[in-house]
């Protein structure tokens, strides 16, 4: 690909394949916005996004450079469980190989070791993140501010699962306002290699462009084997949106 034929736009710096896993079943809280955000930002940075939707029953694309997953209802989780088990080996290989992944809420839980329901039933996760989630009667709901490697990150949590990190498992951030993984240890989310798990909807990427670009950087480096060359993006509106939430919630 050499950009558009009129020569108005510079040639593409390369193709990046973004896979949204279970967009029908696991994207009830606007997490589709993360895919839209990365698609636009890749283009604004001069790369060519290829968006692929993975639905249950299909083979997972092994040439993915970036994988996104969202939150769903219990019925949605039940619908994807078999497919996730079927593709778990491919996903584990991609993760071990450095593929960037962002798993929100329900998919974050399913990327852990185990989900224990309120009734005590143990549902196996695919074990890419060393976390265990216990179902609760009470939901943790509300706006969140985190301190992360990418600065303050804002979002919105809405989960009944209480998640504990395994020993040595790095969290995604420290809670400045909100509940986070479990409402007690101030951790939020989990990071292993290039795989990120978090409870943050919002959706999380549009209002936190530094984090979005960190994912893009990982994907570009893996896809093209060369450094990420960012374009000029005016993030004034996103910065204002985030700063106002930080000021409201975390002082």
């Amino acid at each position: 690909m050499s950009g558009d034929p009129n020569g108005i736009h510079p040639p593409s710096k390369g193709q990046i394949k973004v896979v949204h896993i279970y967009p029908r079943e696991m994207s009830i809280y606007g997490d589709l916005g993360n895919t839209r955000c990365l698609e636009s930002r890749l283009r604004w940075h001069g790369y060519e996004p290829l968006i692929h939707q993975h639905h249950p029953g299909n083979d997972f694309p092994k040439d993915a450079h970036l994988v996104l997953g969202g939150g769903g209802q219990d019925s949605g989780q039940a619908r994807v469980q078999d497919d996730l088990a079927h593709n778990s080996e491919v996903l584990r290989e991609l993760a071990a190989d450095g593929t960037a992944m962002l798993m929100i809420c329900g998919m974050y839980q399913l990327f852990g070791n185990t989900f224990i329901t309120i009734e005590g039933e143990r549902l196996p996760g695919i074990g890419i993140l060393d976390v265990t989630t216990q179902g609760n009667a009470k939901r943790m709901i509300g706006p969140v501010v985190l301190d992360t490697d990418y600065g303050d990150v804002v979002g919105y949590e809405n989960h009944s699962g209480s998640t504990e990190l395994g020993s040595g498992q790095r969290p995604f951030g420290r809670v400045k306002s909100g509940m986070g993984n479990n409402g007690t240890d101030k951790t939020e989310g989990a990071v292993t290699g290039s795989v990120f798990g978090s409870y943050l909807h919002g959706p999380v990427l549009p209002a936190n462009p530094a984090f979005a670009d960190a994912l893009i950087k990982l994907a570009v480096e893996r896809a093209l084997g060369e450094p990420f060359l960012p374009g000029q993006i005016d993030d004034e509106i996103a910065d204002q949106a985030r700063l106002l939430q930080v000021r409201r919630l975390a002082g």
Binding site: R24, I28, G33, R36, S40, Q73, I141, I237, Q240, A241
Partner: protein, 430 residues
């Protein structure tokens, strides 16, 4: 005693300006059985209207049809649709012995509060509109909302009217008590391709569910053009053609729901011409497509609460682009999570752009529009400042405001003072 105290609280709260649930709170504290007592003896029963979208408009339409047929109808017109709001409305229209002077009550209730209400008073009829993602921070899951509606239907004693096309609602038919009648409203098969404008398809997975076949008791919407439509019952019986004051397919399906419910309630007394006359006179409720005369130019106020509602609003108004402001708050009544804005496509606003975004989440709305490549001229979180700017800078143009619930309350209060409009709770009765 409770009624007197409630009436006093009503006067007090009106003097303070607003707070339509306060008198209800007073009465509820003093006499928890108040509702049961007041509603027990209505000769035509108690109708509950609930569902995610269209409650206020549909309730208003149903009330208008019943009144046009000569019934005395009690309703809760203040937009205060929780149990206490019902009691508050009642306090104004009740005798001191606690009797309500009405033939029938038609009550708009929020999905969760409809069940709390049913614990006090068993509805004789229920009109169940639809289920969509809405305020998931309150209801947590759409499946949960669907369960609430099913539980309400189980407690209804005479008849339920269900949305034929919304599988979350039509499947409730199997849950009603023996002897309770089931009728449907829906769209004529000839416009089935327009269903995505009315409901979300992507969160429905009832692979094994076959929708019921409509009978001559069920009302089906058949539009003739953008404004004119009729409601068909079987092959011969038609209500319409008619033209509503409120625009759009959503208003038409609300009218279809109201017509089907009125027909089920009135039986042989139902007159097609009377229903049409009533529906054609219904003014859009406050903020639901209401048109205000702003210095000689029309200003439309459009309430948006969830992805389905915003999508319907954009498709209703998308073919007539005007200068637009979007007001987004994230208070409890708005839904505190604004993630849902990313489940709406705003591309139809690209042509003309957006003049202003405002409200507590003004910047988040502007950011959302930026990702859909819709130009935003100005961001102003303060609603009053934004409104002033919108009305003066675009004085000589038709205008439209899309707004969440509490943003609408603030904007409308300001507009009412500015242009001498009626306030909430003072809506003129037909």
């Amino acid at each position: 005693m409770a009624v007197t105290a409630g009436k006093m609280a009503r006067v007090a709260s009106r003097l303070r300006g607003g707070g339509s649930a306060l008198p209800g709170l007073v009465v509820e504290r003093l006499d928890p059985r108040f509702l049961t007592h007041a509603l027990a003896d209505l000769s035509r029963g108690v109708v509950v209207v609930t569902g995610t979208n269209g409650k206020t408009t549909t309730t208003k339409m149903l009330v208008a049809i019943l009144r046009e047929h000569g019934l005395t109808v009690f309703s809760n017109p203040t937009g205060s649709n929780f149990t206490r709001g019902v009691i508050s409305s009642m306090v104004a229209e009740i005798t001191l012995s606690g009797q309500l002077k009405a033939d029938i009550a038609v009550l708009e209730l929020d999905e969760a509060h409809a069940l709390k209400f049913a614990a006090e008073v068993k509805p004789t009829h229920a009109l169940l509109l639809n289920v969509a993602r809405d305020q998931l921070d309150r209801f947590a899951e759409i499946d949960h909302t669907a369960r609430l509606l099913a539980e309400l239907a189980e407690q209804t004693t005479i008849g339920v009217v269900l949305n034929l096309n919304d599988s979350f609602v039509s499947r409730i038919a199997g849950r009603v008590r023996t002897g309770v009648s089931v009728t449907y409203f829906g769209v004529d098969p000839s416009i089935a391709d327009r269903l995505p404008e009315l409901q979300e398809a992507d969160v429905r997975f009832e692979d094994d569910f076959t929708p019921p076949k409509p009978t001559a008791a069920d009302g089906l919407l058949k539009p003739h053009d953008e404004r004119s439509f009729e409601v068909r019952f079987g092959s011969a019986d038609r209500v319409g053609p008619m033209v509503l004051k409120q625009r759009g397919l959503a208003a038409m399906i609300n009218a279809t729901a109201a017509t089907s419910a009125a027909r089920a309630l009135l039986g042989d007394e139902f007159r097609n011409g009377v229903a049409v006359a009533a529906l054609e006179r219904v003014e859009p409720p406050f903020g639901r497509g209401e048109v205000i005369d702003a210095d000689g130019q029309p200003l439309e106020l459009v309430l948006v609460k969830n992805p389905a509602g915003f999508t319907v609003a954009l498709s209703t108004y998308g073919n007539t682009p005007v200068t637009t402001m979007v007001a987004i708050n994230d208070n409890y009544a708005d839904g505190r999570d604004v993630s849902w804005l990313y489940d709406v496509s705003f591309k139809s606003l690209r042509g003309k752009g957006v003049a202003l975004t405002c409200g507590v989440r003004a910047y988040d709305m502007a950011l959302r529009l930026q990702y859909d490549e819709v130009a935003v001229a100005r961001v102003e979180p303060d609603l009053d400042v934004a409104l002033e700017r919108f009305l003066t800078a675009y004085k000589d143009e038709p205008k439209r405001i899309f707004c969440t619930y509490t943003a609408m309350m603030t904007l409308r209060r300001n507009l009412a003072a500015r242009y001498g409009l009626a306030n909430f709770g003072e809506e003129p009765q037909p």
